[in-house]
């Protein structure tokens, strides 16, 4: 059983965020009081400022920043929106009230902050993320829940009304939705030695039925396709706070490969954030080479699959190792296989045969 000092972390994180936000408020207040126009420095999120950091093994923003000033009439509106969002985020974080992107859009209307559409308010939210270098989940703006978790993991809630309440995530056989309360909870205790992230809900259920959590001493996470950022945050915390290695199982196609890559090293869209990656995470399958090796039934790749392969070949992260090799094989065979393909050899084939082999293989990756 591992136990980590994580209680402090969550609380500290929130307090430091509140401090930072307050700092911006004070800065704007003082500027106005002196008769000056307040301004924020915002990391530039344009393509030209997104670079791949080999050391961090993820996309990051370069050093370019742009100034958003209340003096510039072209920026005045978005400056006000940003300040309002800081104010609103501060309120959410203090009161520990979760909201969604859409909530933020509608909440703005109560304050005469005229976002033209949700697209505009979403953009401002990303701006604030960039300013704070924190994902929006930190200031209680959450995506729709669609991924879930199961396994022997004890958590302690920090949200209002549940503070101090503990919970073991193996009590309910359907698993638990990864929502705001879970993401903000402290990770107290676990017997697991491994985290298995799996792309599909169907397989997640199979894994629970087949007691993969016990057989492989693992916590199972269903990413529900491309992993939401709250799930990626949770994966990172499991890895860092509980020192659990993370393996990823996806469909055997180019999209699956990239789902794994995003968990490992993030996406260009989130280059302004550094809390979302698990650089040590390992993609264990389904590889293109597995298709032949395990004689999996396949379907042909579509044109967009093939185009995606060529696009990814230009990505610096696909220039070496299995990433490069598997991409080449996909392009060669021009066929793909889903996780369910193993059912051809019996429903438990994937958990009985394939998974152990791959986990063994992972150790040498």
């Amino acid at each position: 059983m591992k136990k980590k000092q994580s209680k402090k972390t969550t609380k500290e994180k929130q307090e430091s965020l509140i401090d930072i936000l307050k700092g911006y408020g004070v800065q704007a207040y003082n500027d106005l009081d002196k008769g000056e126009f307040p301004k924020f420095s915002i990391p530039n999120r344009s393509i030209s400022n997104i670079i791949y950091d080999k050391k961090l093994r993820q996309y990051i923003l370069g050093s370019n920043t742009s100034l958003r000033s209340a003096k510039n009439t072209a920026q005045l509106r978005s400056f006000t929106q940003l300040l309002w969002l800081a104010f609103f985020a501060n309120k959410l974080t203090k009161e520990k009230k979760s909201s969604t992107l859409r909530d933020v859009y509608y909440s703005s209307q109560a304050f005469a902050i005229d976002f033209e559409d949700q697209q505009e308010s979403d953009n401002i939210i990303v701006d604030l993320e960039a300013v704070l270098s924190r994902p929006r989940e930190d200031f209680y703006v959450f995506p729709e829940e669609r991924s879930s978790i199961f396994g022997d993991l004890t958590i302690e809630y920090t949200i209002p009304g549940y503070e101090g309440k503990k919970m073991n995530l193996s009590d309910h056989p359907d698993g638990y939705a990864i929502g705001p309360s879970l993401t903000s909870a402290d990770l107290v205790d676990t017997s697991a030695e491994l985290v298995i992230a799996i792309e599909k809900g169907g397989l997640f259920t199979r894994f629970i039925e087949e007691k993969v959590d016990k057989k492989f001493k693992s916590i199972i996470i269903n990413t529900g396709g491309q992993a939401p950022r709250s799930t990626r945050t949770l994966l990172k915390r499991l890895h860092e706070e509980l020192s659990l290695p993370v393996v990823i199982l996806t469909d055997g196609d180019v999209y699956g490969e990239h789902i794994a890559m995003v968990i490992k090293s993030g996406s260009a869209n989130a280059a302004h954030l550094r809390e979302l990656t698990v650089p040590d995470a390992k993609w264990v399958g389904v590889w293109a080479t597995d298709i032949d090796k395990y004689k999996l039934p396949t379907i042909p790749m579509t044109e967009s699959d093939i185009k995606r392969c060529y696009d990814l070949q230009k990505d610096p992260r696909y220039q070496e190792g299995i990433w490069k090799k598997e991409l080449e094989v996909f392009l060669k065979i021009k066929r793909k296989a889903e996780l369910e393909a193993f059912s051809k050899y019996g429903l438990t084939n994937i958990t009985d045969k394939y998974l152990p082999k791959k986990l063994e293989e992972a150790k040498s990756l």
Binding site: G25, Y29, N30, D33, G35, T73, L76, L83, W84, A112
Partner: protein, 613 residues
């Protein structure tokens, strides 16, 4: 020539009566509008020519108010022009094609033809006479009531009175079938636009519904009047040249009783009967004072050796220069006789010159603008004529050849624009300012240019904002100070305006924009007989384009300044909207109790704005 003869078999009145659609009298709506135009334009032309600042008063009254349209209306147009001499009134208003002038200068109407057409139309539809009141001296006024004898093309005077008056000018009043409910808006537009392009005139219109439209003069000086000039060779056709030849090359006059008495008079022998030798003595003595036709008759008499009595009993048939014979018909003997002409006689030269006319080069230099002796010689060589060829001896084929060559020879200088009467930049500018009360306006008068031998000048004005309403760009088209109201779509001005990329000049398509275009030319190239739209001659299109570009650039720089002022205003608005919000959020976010003192920041933009203005 044969077609002309068949035309002559019906009178001009009859011809126009049958073809009145051509002149714009096709239906009661169009006819009322055309009649208004013809009379108003005649009045304005008359005032312009005599240098009087026009004060035109037009009224339309229904004969029977309660009848539905179309119905009879009385149209009266009164001006303060020079009036028409009493003896000319019946012919001027009672015949078609009276008083045509072939001089070349810019005028609104061509020959005053349209007015007679309107009178004719009125008479046809209502059988009521035209009433003309004219005073040339401002003391006595001649009042005529007339009908037109269509078949004979002659006036029938029903009533004539002389009265005392206090002002000079002309009043014409006709009764005609019209439809004011349909034509009204066009007529009002016409009056409005005419006064825009004639800012030195006062125009009043009393409409049948009792409304009064009055446009007083904006400027007190009239633009310089055009001079009559000779035609440019490029603008000539066979028919014109034939007329010019007839005009120059003197034909043997008809020796009738009135000619004989003219000869007697000039020789001082009106009452006396003298014999042939005494007549010739008088001729020699008085030669220098004799008019041309009398000289010709005298020369003929010298060969015929006849006195006046004998002369009245013959008819000259031919002066045969080649055979040196003079052939005449003797009424008494009922036979044709001939006499030989002595080439040594001084009268021989007179006669042959008259028959053959002047030489081609002399004709060209005397009768055309822009043709000097050098150019004439060059041209004659180009056209493959002999310089000394007499114009009187030209055959029809030679005339066509000459006319073609005149049009294709490219060494003539471009036409003389002194026959044009543009309005001028200042009056146009003032007119635009007064009519549209815009935020911005500019005008330009382009230099003279020419198409096919006809000189033209483009004047253009642009106005933006102010009382102009947004929507589509308003284009006011004028030609020779006449508004063009119909057939806008196919006009060259519209084409140029529509092809302009307004975005380049910071102008949106729905901007409150007015364009006033004025084409002045001795001949405006109308597309149709209706004279409402101008054809897209490349030379005219080019000038229009250049004028519009010039004005658009001016507008563009105004728009940028306006843009700056708008920005400052907008900025001020934005600040006063957002700064309080920033104050509110920063106060709450920083946890302060009192809002920061930001009021001075909202005022600041106003200071900036004042500076930019």
């Amino acid at each position: 020539m044969s077609s002309k003869e068949s035309f002559n078999q019906i009178s001009p009145s009859e011809f126009f009566y049958r073809n009145r659609d051509l002149a714009g009298f096709s239906n009661p709506t169009r006819s009322l509008y055309t009649a208004v135009r013809e009379f108003v334009e005649n009045s304005l032309d008359a005032c312009d020519h005599s240098g009087v600042l026009a004060d035109v008063h037009m009224s339309i009254k229904a004969v029977d108010k309660d009848k539905p349209d179309p119905k009879q209306y009385i149209l009266t147009v009164k001006d303060n022009g020079p009036g028409i001499e009493s003896k000319h009134v019946p012919l001027a208003f009672g015949t078609v094609l009276y008083g045509s002038k072939f001089g070349l200068k810019q005028a609104r109407g061509m020959f005053g033809l349209g007015a007679t057409m309107a009178i004719l139309y009125g008479q046809i539809t209502t059988n009521r006479p035209v009433i003309v009141k004219s005073s040339t001296d401002g003391k006595i006024q001649d009042e005529y009531e007339m009908l037109l004898d269509i078949q004979k093309n002659k006036p029938v005077i029903l009533k004539y009175e002389k009265k005392e008056t206090k002002s000079a000018g002309l009043t014409v009043s006709i009764c005609l079938d019209g439809d004011y409910s349909k034509a009204g808006s066009k007529i009002r537009d016409y009056v409005y636009q005419t006064s825009l392009i004639t800012p030195y005139a006062t125009i009043t219109f009393d409409d049948p519904k009792g409304e009064k439209f009055r446009y007083t003069k904006i400027v007190r000086s009239m633009p310089p009047s055009p001079t009559i000039i000779r035609p440019h060779p490029h603008g000539i056709d066979v028919e014109t040249i034939r007329r010019m030849l007839l005009d120059t090359h003197y034909q043997i006059p008809t020796v009738d009783d009135s000619m004989i008495s003219k000869v007697r008079k000039e020789l001082g022998l009106a009452k006396k009967n003298v014999d042939y030798s005494q007549i010739m003595k008088k001729v020699e003595k008085k030669w220098k004072t004799l008019t041309r036709p009398v000289r010709v008759v005298a020369a003929i008499m010298s060969f015929l050796k006849m006195d006046f009595d004998k002369l009245s009993k013959i008819r000259i048939e031919e002066v045969d220069v080649g055979n040196k014979k003079l052939i005449y018909w003797d009424f008494g003997e009922s036979q044709s006789n001939s006499v030989d002409m002595d080439p040594e006689s001084p009268y021989y030269k007179q006669l042959t010159n008259t028959v053959q006319g002047e030489t081609l080069t002399s004709f060209l230099t005397k009768r055309f603008q822009r043709v000097g002796p050098t150019t004439a010689v060059k041209f004659v060589e180009y056209a493959k004529f002999k310089p000394e060829q007499r114009i009187g001896t030209m055959t029809n084929q030679e005339l066509v050849k000459l006319s073609d060559a005149l049009q294709t020879f490219d060494e003539f200088m471009s036409p003389d624009p002194s026959c044009l009467a543009p309005l001028g930049e200042e009056p146009l500018d003032k007119g635009i300012e007064r009519f549209f009360e815009p935020d911005f306006h500019a005008v330009i008068q382009r230099g003279a240019s020419a198409y096919s031998g006809f000189p033209f000048i483009i004047e253009m004005g642009i106005a933006y904002g102010g009382k102009i309403s947004s929507g589509k760009i308003n284009v006011f088209r004028f030609a020779n100070r006449i508004p063009l109201l119909y057939d806008e779509g196919s006009d060259v001005v519209l084409k140029v305006v529509n092809e302009t990329d307004w975005g380049r000049y910071k102008v949106k398509n729905d901007s409150p924009l007015v364009i006033v275009s004025h084409i002045c030319s001795t001949r405006v190239p109308y597309k149709t007989v209706g004279k409402e739209n101008v054809a897209d001659r490349p030379e005219i299109e080019r000038e229009l384009r250049l004028a519009l570009q010039f004005l658009s650039r001016k507008l563009s720089s105004f728009m940028s300044k306006k843009g700056q002022a708008d920005m400052a205003k907008k900025r001020a608005n934005l600040y006063s909207k957002y700064i309080p919000l920033i104050a509110q959020f920063s106060t709450e976010l920083s946890g302060k109790k009192k809002e920061p003192n930001y009021k001075k920041m909202i005022k600041e933009p106003n200071v900036i704005e004042e500076k930019t203005e």
